[in-house]
């Protein structure tokens, strides 16, 4: 089989890439191994993610589904604050805006259906191996259908939207995959009914805002409404904290939830759990050289920093949109002789992610300074950052980001393509910023899950398998 563009993974990165390509008259193949709808985490959108959906002409469909409307992010911690969703007009003036919270099983299916309606071809199957060209580039994949049969799909361009499964990185088609700064953190999450919401219709007290709770450094929780009744509830702690208590994940979730913050206790006193507790440990990573001859990685397929400010869908879909002009000219035959035909795109996306990383790092390192910035000194710059406006074309890095770097004693230099965005490494084991490769002595997510399943005993093993499937389901 042959195609111009092959997209691996039918999540928001893949389906939005397909829809933007369709606008250019390019009809890609999307390879997806899961039958949709399927569970996925990452339910909150930034303002810019909402704006992007409107650009794709999906506002009406979003409204039809009555997704909760997000007016901002409310943080309860040692510092408490609210950041509203706001947009910029053509004169770069701020105006109030809203975006959405979504049930991912439903939203992702909507997006994938819409991508097909606009001309993409969906193939059910798993990307097994990357087909490599003589010059080291990527020229397609070997896929395995659900019935076990295999076929090669050759493509001028492979777009890896496989999420945390990082298909091309695992195939070593990219540069190395490094541990990220938050790789020693573990996230637990589930859906609940009966969590208390605010009762307003707009602004700080709007009923469907994102809630973030913390007190101790690196110990936090989120509450994200996904319909009128159900809230996505998650807690994130250092992995060592979880291991110390020697509990199963459901037990640990119920035990630890009341310890995060008194306001969270107040809001979750009478909750009903609607399903099992999911887990993703050691989630933070970064892939170097994530663009190259014949390939581009988008969203989680090349970098996952930390879930705290809900940048996941936003980065995935925005990177897809940013990639389109580069893809169009590549398919026209331009820059084919260059070592990395997508160098400019790669640098652009990496700089945006670096701005986010600096923001998350400062939040934990200097919460008082961060809160003062939010309240007074850099309010509009931080409204931009929370809205997902973190890219070079959006007045970034802003004065706020530059000040974050100063306080973090961190310099970023993008003048040489080989050495920018070197991962800062694990927050907990600074000496370990090593490669996260299959033969690395550092335990990867899959091994961790397997070992955790063994030590949890049979009772938990079915849950572990399910969680492993979540991690690799976009592969």
């Amino acid at each position: 089989m042959k195609t111009d563009v092959l997209i691996i993974g039918g999540g928001p990165a893949g389906s939005s890439a397909a829809m933007f390509l369709a606008k250019e008259g390019i009809k890609p193949i999307i390879l997806e191994q899961e039958a949709f709808p399927r569970f996925h985490i990452g339910e909150s959108m930034t303002g810019e993610a909402g704006a992007l959906l409107r650009r794709l002409g999906l506002e009406e469909k979003m409204l039809e589904r009555s997704y909760p409307v997000k007016h901002g992010v409310r943080v309860y911690g040692t510092s408490s604050w609210f950041i509203p969703v706001a947009r910029r007009d053509e004169n770069w003036e701020l105006h109030p805006a809203t975006t959405w919270q979504v049930r991912r099983s439903d939203f992702d299916a909507l997006m994938l259906d819409e991508a097909q309606a606009r001309g993409a071809t969906l193939i059910r199957g798993r990307a097994k191996t990357a087909l490599r060209s003589e010059d080291g580039g990527v020229r397609g994949v070997t896929m395995v259908r659900p019935d076990g049969s295999e076929e090669d799909i050759e493509a001028q361009l492979v777009i890896d939207c496989s999420g945390m499964a990082t298909f091309l990185a695992n195939q070593k088609a990219t540069g190395p995959k490094y541990l990220g700064s938050y790789d020693k953190q573990i996230a637990f999450f589930t859906h609940v009914k009966g969590a208390l919401r605010d009762t307003g219709t707009s602004g700080e007290t709007a009923k469907d805002n994102t809630l973030i709770f913390y007190q101790k450094k690196y110990h936090w929780a989120w509450g994200i409404p996904i319909d009128d009744e159900v809230m996505s509830l998650g807690i994130v702690v250092p992995t060592a904290e979880f291991q110390k208590h020697n509990m199963g994940r459901d037990e640990f979730f119920r035990f630890y939830l009341p310890q995060i913050n008194p306001e969270l206790v107040r809001r979750t006193e009478n909750i009903e759990y609607l399903g099992k507790v999911h887990v993703i440990p050691n989630y933070s990573f970064q892939v170097r050289s994530f663009c190259g001859k014949g390939y581009i990685c988008l969203g989680d397929a090349h970098r996952f920093i930390d879930p705290i400010f809900s940048f996941g869908i936003s980065a995935a879909m925005r990177e897809a949109e940013f990639a389109i002009p580069h893809i169009v000219s590549y398919l026209r035959g331009e820059r084919r002789d260059e070592a990395n035909p997508f160098e400019a795109l790669q640098r652009f996306c990496e700089q945006g992610s670096d701005n986010l990383e600096d923001m998350v790092d400062l939040f934990w390192e200097q919460p008082f300074a961060f809160a003062t910035f939010v309240h007074q000194r850099y309010r509009s710059e931080l409204i931009d950052a929370f809205a997902g406006r973190v890219y070079e074309t959006e007045h970034q890095p802003s004065n706020a980001i530059m000040q974050f770097r100063k306080l973090l004693k961190r310099e970023r230099d993008y003048s040489h393509q080989d050495d920018y965005s070197i991962p800062i490494g694990s927050r907990y084991h600074a000496e370990r910023a090593p490669l996260w490769a299959p033969d690395s002595p550092v335990e990867g997510t899959e091994e961790w899950l397997k070992r955790s399943a063994e030590s949890d005993g049979n009772k938990a093993s079915d849950r572990d398998e399910a969680s492993t499937a979540e991690l690799v389901n976009a592969e």
Binding site: P367, F368, F373, H375, L407
Partner: protein
Amino acid sequence: MEIPQKLIDYINTSRAPLPPVSDPEEPLQIDSLGLIRLVSFMESDCGIRVEDEELVAENFATLHSLGQLIEKKTQGANTLS
């Protein structure tokens, strides 16, 4: 420069219902929102500019640490007034 009396008064007011600070080493116990207001008061009413890198909670933990911060700033002639 010592801590201006009006700043001490402001701190005592924002600490209420706690009694006025009597010991320079006593924790001020002002919550983070209160600290943000305190910084704002220092800048607008006392003419003491607090730099971004000085926005660490330890600087505002006690009258002693606050005094040290102000002392350091006045030595560097780092005030607005």
